[in-house]
């Protein structure tokens, strides 16, 4: 009887030991034995044509310097002075102003539902939402926020290739197609040249509006950028990969 009592825990311990050993073996097997799986390509294609890598890396460092030494202090002051609702309101206001770009981009891709939603949101937010500072459209059925479209995405949807990856001074990651899209965005934006609807709008005022819009968007961008930098082995490579995957996903959607 005694022996039996003794035997059971021993058996149990052996069983637990065996199970642990099996589990550990399985884990080690998972990491070493399935080479084909571990070396298989990741589903999201991240091959990037980057023939100007050395120039891009230099521009990336330049942008990082500008971000850290000019934009960052301005944004710090802005976030310290402006309460959160003001920051959010300013960001909403500038997003609302870009409605023509989103409308044209939806229409150029024959996304009529998207164009309808954007128009409804613009109408509601510009009126009930006090020139777009608030976003009451979020609560209207059928007018929930949708993903923003731009002219670069339109070119992608039309089958135009990305071209080489570029890092633009002050603007950050892009590619040849998105650079053309950037100028396309300006062309359909009635607040920007060359097709500005406001005749007597001097460049100083345009610059002030663009600058304020840039700062209003910056707190979130800076936070994300700093997180990316702090968790990346190679921040340039990480940003390039993230940008390319994000844009390819946006075009494919």
């Amino acid at each position: 009887m005694k022996t039996q009592k003794f035997k059971r825990p021993l058996t149990l311990a052996s069983l637990i030991g065996l199970l642990t050993a099996t589990s550990l073996t399985a884990q080690v097997q998972d990491l070493t034995g399935d080479e084909e799986f571990y070396t298989s390509p990741v589903d999201e294609s991240s091959d990037v044509y980057d023939p100007f890598e050395s120039v891009n890396r230099f521009t990336f460092k330049f942008n990082d310097f500008v971000f850290s030494n000019t934009v960052q202090p301005l944004v710090d002051v802005y976030t310290a002075i402006a309460p959160d609702p003001v920051e959010e309101g300013a960001s909403n206001f500038f997003h609302n102003l870009r409605y023509p770009v989103r409308l044209a981009s939806n229409l150029l891709q024959c996304r009529f539902k998207g164009a309808w939603v954007e128009t409804g949101r613009f109408a509601i937010n510009s009126t009930v939402g006090i020139v777009g500072i608030l976003t009451p459209a979020d609560d209207y059925e059928g007018f929930a926020p949708i993903k923003s479209e731009d002219v670069g995405q339109v070119f992608g949807a039309w089958g135009i290739g990305e071209g080489p990856y570029l890092v633009l001074p002050f603007l950050g990651p892009s590619n040849l197609r998105d650079l053309a899209g950037f100028f396309g965005d300006r062309a359909v934006n009635p607040l920007k040249e060359p097709f500005g609807v406001i005749d007597d709008w001097k460049w100083e005022r345009q610059l002030a509006l663009s600058g304020t819009g840039y700062i209003a968007r910056s707190p979130q961008i800076i936070e994300r950028y700093k997180q990316l930098k702090g968790s990346s082995i190679d921040p340039y490579s990480s940003l390039r990969n993230g940008y390319v995957q994000y844009r390819r996903g946006a075009v494919a959607e």
């Binding site: 399985a26 799986f37 926020p145 700093k226 390039r240």
Partner: protein, 205 residues
Amino acid sequence: MESFSYKTFLVLGLLFWSSASAQEAEKDKLQGMIDATLDVIYSETHASLSANEKQVKVREKLKSSYDLDVMIRYAIGKNWRRMNKREQLEVLELVKQLVLKAYVIGLEGKDRPLVTFGELTEIGKARIEIGSTMVLDAKTYYILYRLRQMDSGWQIYDIVAENVSMSSNYRGQIDDHFRKGSATDLIARLKDLLAKDEINEDTKI
């Protein structure tokens, strides 16, 4: 013959059903794990913990459900062979710490996100994808969890947030690193990143 076919279909049907329900169970398991990690970051009981302590707790929660090594190993890809055994283990551990640090610090100071799980899709042999949405700071993010059946059970091998695959991102960085650098440099870089208290503390580029 008829009876044989009937039985075969019955068995196949049962096998399919049990496989489908096992996959569905994975969704519950994943949801439970995400909830548990968010509890660590946001619950009152853990409010007094430092960021480092929270990372340890989050790691425990993750470990009880999944083997994070699988995801990191997948991100390392073919570069695994460029390292010796000691370096492989060290890189595995350091990247794991970095990912956990980014996760905890990235969410801290924000309101608890609302995570809703969506459809489960079979994406290949022994591979599934579980979709989810995360509402954080009034913005909705789409996040996919990719799992593969390994010898040790279903394991997460990739997380795709807003079309950006984490494994692809880290793999691209490690590929780029090994074009010019060595495993020793990689370990030094990872240690340097981990030495900073905050993830957004000024980092060399």
